[in-house]
């Protein structure tokens, strides 16, 4: 019997599941070190306040308390760095106020850490932290970008006038203004992109460990990118050289962006472990996640589209206020600029675009990348605007989109906002999505629903994503302070099994399976003989981690490069063993064969020869069979697609139910279709969550109102439908696998499809725009606002 197909394209069941389904995963909080102490962080419950030096005397006397540290103890420690410098319109650099590890006399958001108590038990540390008496004097505060931008608004940082972090722009303003002046139609829409709280199910945790014998530090942390944490914390915060600092990110229970960044708690436990020469563990309670994990989105925008009389898009003009929160999180500044405004062409041929973005400080938790990061905001703006344009001009919304799609023969396609798309077929994803969603048959379903007293609507959204982050030189020229290549080390062991060390990190994506499939496919070894190792700076040469749907496109490509080197070396060994010319050796299905003969050697035999080089070309070739490769991508990758959503609204309650959801995505080559579907389903669930349920609510002063699962509505099983997921793939042209990435597409394409469907369902109520989340209360108010119209009231 032939072995089951396990290579590229097979829906192989996941290797990592065995430990997860039997409760044997090792998440950070599952780790305990001998002699471990526990840290509890006392945080601000005020949005903005000053406080004098904290008196720790009484709390120090409490049982079990070992140490209490405040900013005064951290004098030699740097602030948390921001990894991306944006420049203002006038070329000057952005405002970058210090982000202290512990607040230095001023707290700037609810959740801002003030002091850390370290004790023998978690409960003792918490008891003592709650007893610390902090004499706050409240300061005026501001929570929204709209308030922060007002003249005379309270200042979050005295050093930042007007609360403006940067005032940036992209595109040709003069050309856009000219196009608007001559346009047949001009459409304008004001919209917000609601603030979200990522809420990975595993709360963040960190353990600092210090080896008295060697002076080495180890940090165990819930991170998507352990090498980045080692670099940022070692070089900028604690001044620890890399060779004395090991960062381990073991099993991580979801990230969605929130576990990319370097957080204060990581520096605190590492530093304290050295100070006390004992391990120190910190685990967030969920309420701390709400007020200390970087939030996502939070844009307020005005968007304008100019069209000619036939509906061709002539120009797009966008003005956005983006909330940074109180401090700059690691990648925060890149999100509303290079991950947002550069995406505003979407899948359309809009010839000129101008966008200006003002990033504002407010007294709220720092905002950074959350699943999709900038690209969902761009997609929501564009697809709502196009929808409103269709409505305002009386054109069919599908036809209007079709008329403006970038044609399939136009690639590579240069947009007016810097990106050059390498491949795509937006007609195909649109057609397939409409077909799978039975767009044509909707009217019958609407009438059937109406007969039951329900309002049924359908909406679509196209989207374009730039991911596979990123070409180092390009992002460097745009302000990134780090490179964004990826690293792989492929080690073929003497008897032919393989360990692969990757700089990416898996926290749900299934890399241990997908990468093993890739290696199994390319080297012709059974899947069971391949292990993928990630998440430990002591084992992995280097790496930038997992975010921006980059792991397969960049990390997988690095693996291919390393395997190419393995195969090239293997050919030399095989040529020697079989006394043939190296150019005559072919490698296929795990065998090195002398072309045109039946002479061959398996990769296992070659590996054994490489490690036991008795008969070996030792003069020309080193023993061993292990190779490392760094892969720097040539361009971003560009997934794209179309999502269609169908909703039913209960007139009496305003509750919106998603009854059908179809996603057709172009993610490039698919290694494991089961995993791709799972990624899309999860992304769509978060997108529906944003559209209908989730909102990080602050009062005007900056008090977090939605600070627990009781106030922040997470999507639950009965809030969601089954999803119809399909792909329609074109290959990426510039990486060796043709892959594009699938981690974020679901969260990018879905929110506008949902809102377009909700607005469609309310067609008789004169609704033009609904801000997310479209909660039952909001919908009920619209339905009950006045006389029920049969026609929109214009």
């Amino acid at each position: 019997m032939a072995p089951p197909f396990e290579g590229i394209g097979a829906a192989v069941r996941r290797k990592e599941d065995q430990r997860f389904i039997s409760g044997r995963g090792t998440y950070t909080d599952d780790i305990n070190r001998p002699g471990q102490l526990y840290a509890f962080i006392r945080r601000s419950d005020r949005p903005h306040a000053k406080f004098p030096a904290v008196d720790t005397g009484a709390a120090m006397e409490l049982p079990g308390v070992v140490a209490i540290y405040t900013a005064a103890d951290l004098a030699n420690i740097g602030g948390l760095p921001c990894g991306w410098q944006i420049h203002n319109k006038d070329g000057s650099p952005m405002a970058e106020p210090k982000h202290p590890v512990l607040a230095e006399g001023v707290v700037r958001h609810v959740g801002d850490p003030i002091a850390v108590v370290i004790a023998e038990t978690r409960q003792q540390a918490k008891d003592a932290a709650e007893k610390l008496d902090i004499a706050f004097t409240d300061l005026p505060s501001v929570a929204t970008v709209s308030d922060a931008v007002k003249p005379g608004a309270p200042l979050v940082h005295d050093s930042v006038p007007g609360n403006v972090c940067y005032d940036w722009h992209i595109g040709d303003k003069a050309a856009v203004d000219a196009a608007f002046a001559g346009a047949a139609h001009r459409v304008r829409l004001d919209l917000t992109n609601n603030r979200l709280i990522p809420n990975a199910m595993e709360p963040r945790a960190a353990i600092g460990d210090y080896d008295r014998a060697t002076g080495d530090y180890t940090l165990y942390t819930t991170s998507q990118n352990p090498h980045v944490i080692r670099l940022l914390m070692g070089a900028f915060v604690l001044s620890l050289p890399e060779h004395k600092l090991r960062v381990v990110a073991p099993d991580v229970g979801g990230g969605f962006g929130s576990k990319i960044y370097h957080y204060a708690e990581e520096a605190i436990v590492t530093w304290a472990a050295g100070k006390l020469a004992r391990p120190v563990k910190w685990t967030a309670e969920r309420n701390e996640s709400f007020m200390s994990d970087a939030h996502g989105r939070d844009h307020v925008s005005t968007a304008e589209l100019a069209l000619d009389k036939d509906g061709k898009f002539l120009a797009l003009r966008v003005h956005t206020l983006a909330n940074m929160g109180a401090y700059l999180s690691t990648f925060s500044t890149a999100v509303p600029t290079y991950l947002y405004a550069t995406l505003l062409a979407g899948v359309y041929t809009t010839p000129v675009i101008y966008a200006e973005v003002k990033a504002m400080f407010t007294n709220t938790v720092p905002v950074d990348a959350y699943r999709g990061a900038g690209r969902p905001e761009a997609t929501f703006l564009l697809e709502r605007l196009v929808e409103v344009a269709a409505r305002d001009t009386g054109m069919d919304r599908v036809e209007l989109r079709r008329r403006n799609l970038i044609p399939r023969n136009a690639f590579p396609y240069q947009t007016p906002v810097a990106l050059q798309y390498d491949s795509g077929d937006y007609q195909a994803t649109l057609d397939t999505a409409l077909k799978h969603a039975d767009w044509a048959g909707f009217e019958a379903r609407r009438q059937a629903a109406a007969a039951k007293g329900k309002l049924r609507g359908i909406g679509l959204s196209t989207y374009l994503e730039a991911c596979g982050i990123a070409p180092s030189a390009v992002v460097g020229s745009l302000g990134a302070r780090a490179a964004l290549y990826e690293v792989a080390n492929v080690r073929v062991h003497p008897t032919g099994s393989v360990s692969v060390f990757t700089g990416t990190h898996s926290h749900g994506q299934g890399h241990e399976t997908t990468f093993a499939q890739l290696v199994s496919d390319q080297l012709g070894v059974p899947l069971a003989s391949v292990d993928v190792v990630h998440g430990d700076t002591a084992k992995i040469p280097f790496g930038m981690g997992t975010y921006g749907s980059r792991s397969l496109a960049v990390g997988g490509s690095a693996m291919v490069k390393a395997m190419d080197k393995i195969i090239a070396k293997g050919k030399k060994i095989a040529a020697h063993l079989m006394e043939a010319d190296v150019h005559d050796i072919e490698f296929k299905d795990g065998k090195f064969t002398v072309a045109g003969t039946d002479k061959s050697k398996t990769i296992g035999e070659i590996a054994l020869t490489a490690y036991v080089p008795h008969n070996y070309p030792i003069e020309e070739l080193e023993p061993g069979l292990e190779e490392t490769a760094f892969y720097d991508p040539k361009n971003f990758t560009f997934p794209g697609g179309c999502h269609v959503c169908e909703v039913e609204i209960d007139r009496d309650t305003g509750v919106v139910r998603v009854v059908n959801f179809t996603a057709v995505d172009d993610v490039g080559r698919v290694i494991n279709p089961m995993i791709v579907e799972g990624q899309v389903q999860g992304g769509v669930a978060q997108g529906i969550g944003q559209a209908l349920l989730e909102n990080a609510a602050y009062d005007a002063d900056g008090n977090l109102l939605s600070g627990s699962f009781m106030d922040y509505t997470m999507p639950r099983a009965d809030d969601l439908p089954n999803f119809h997921v399909a792909t329609e793939n074109t290959m990426c042209t510039h990486n060796p696998l043709g892959v594009k990435g699938c981690g974020e597409v679901g969260a990018i394409g879905s929110p506008p499809a949902v809102i377009n469907a909700v607005v469609d369902a309310l067609r008789d109520y004169g609704v033009r725009q609904i801000d997310m989340p479209a909660t039952a209360a909001k919908i009920w108010a619209i339905i009950n606002a006045g006389p029920h119209h049969r026609k929109p009231a214009e």
Partner: protein
């Protein structure tokens, strides 16, 4: 300190605990059974679900002392002694019902109780409703619902009655 005697995964244990120690703390911190997770502080996520005397319980809402004399089963105790997985574990893997795996132990324990308590059959709607107390941020639930429907016939030894629509 008071002490509590419980049988965990078939093994009798007597442990000293503080009065305020939660069952989940007893399992994770005293007994080293870290398969049961803590995802919240308001009893809303279900990551901590275990079986106490055969019924699903959020172990973060129960004091360790309240479990005195009880039989507790955690995710680590589900598989047979020879390692054979429980059908629910098997179906979670088969249907890709987990991604990061953090919600999975609680989800599997809650799902087993749901199937056990519905010998007459389970519709998709009932499954979705039955999972109300368990949050998953990764999967969008689609595959979890499929896995539970697939585990029902394996656990009841007959095919799932067609949903009465």
């Amino acid at each position: 300190m008071p002490q509590v005697s419980v049988t965990v995964n078939g093994k009798p244990q007597t442990v000293q605990v503080e009065g305020r120690t939660l069952l989940v703390e007893l399992l994770r911190e005293k007994l080293g059974l870290t398969g049961t997770h803590v995802g919240c502080d308001t009893s809303q996520c279900g990551a901590c679900v275990v079986h106490v005397d055969g019924r699903a319980v959020k172990s973060c809402t129960m004091l360790a002392l309240q479990a005195d004399g009880a039989k507790v089963t955690t995710i680590e105790g589900l598989a047979a002694a020879d390692g054979t997985l429980h059908p629910m574990q098997e179906m979670f893997r088969e249907h890709h019902a987990l991604q990061c795996g953090f919600c999975t132990p609680g989800m599997v324990m809650a799902a087993i109780d749901l199937v056990n308590t519905h010998p007459e059959g389970l519709t998709e709607e009932q499954i979705r409703h039955g999972l109300e107390g368990n949050l998953c941020r990764c999967t969008g639930y689609h595959n979890i619902v499929k896995a539970i429907a697939a585990a029902w016939p394996l656990m009841h030894g007959k095919s799932l009655p067609a949903a009465a629509e």
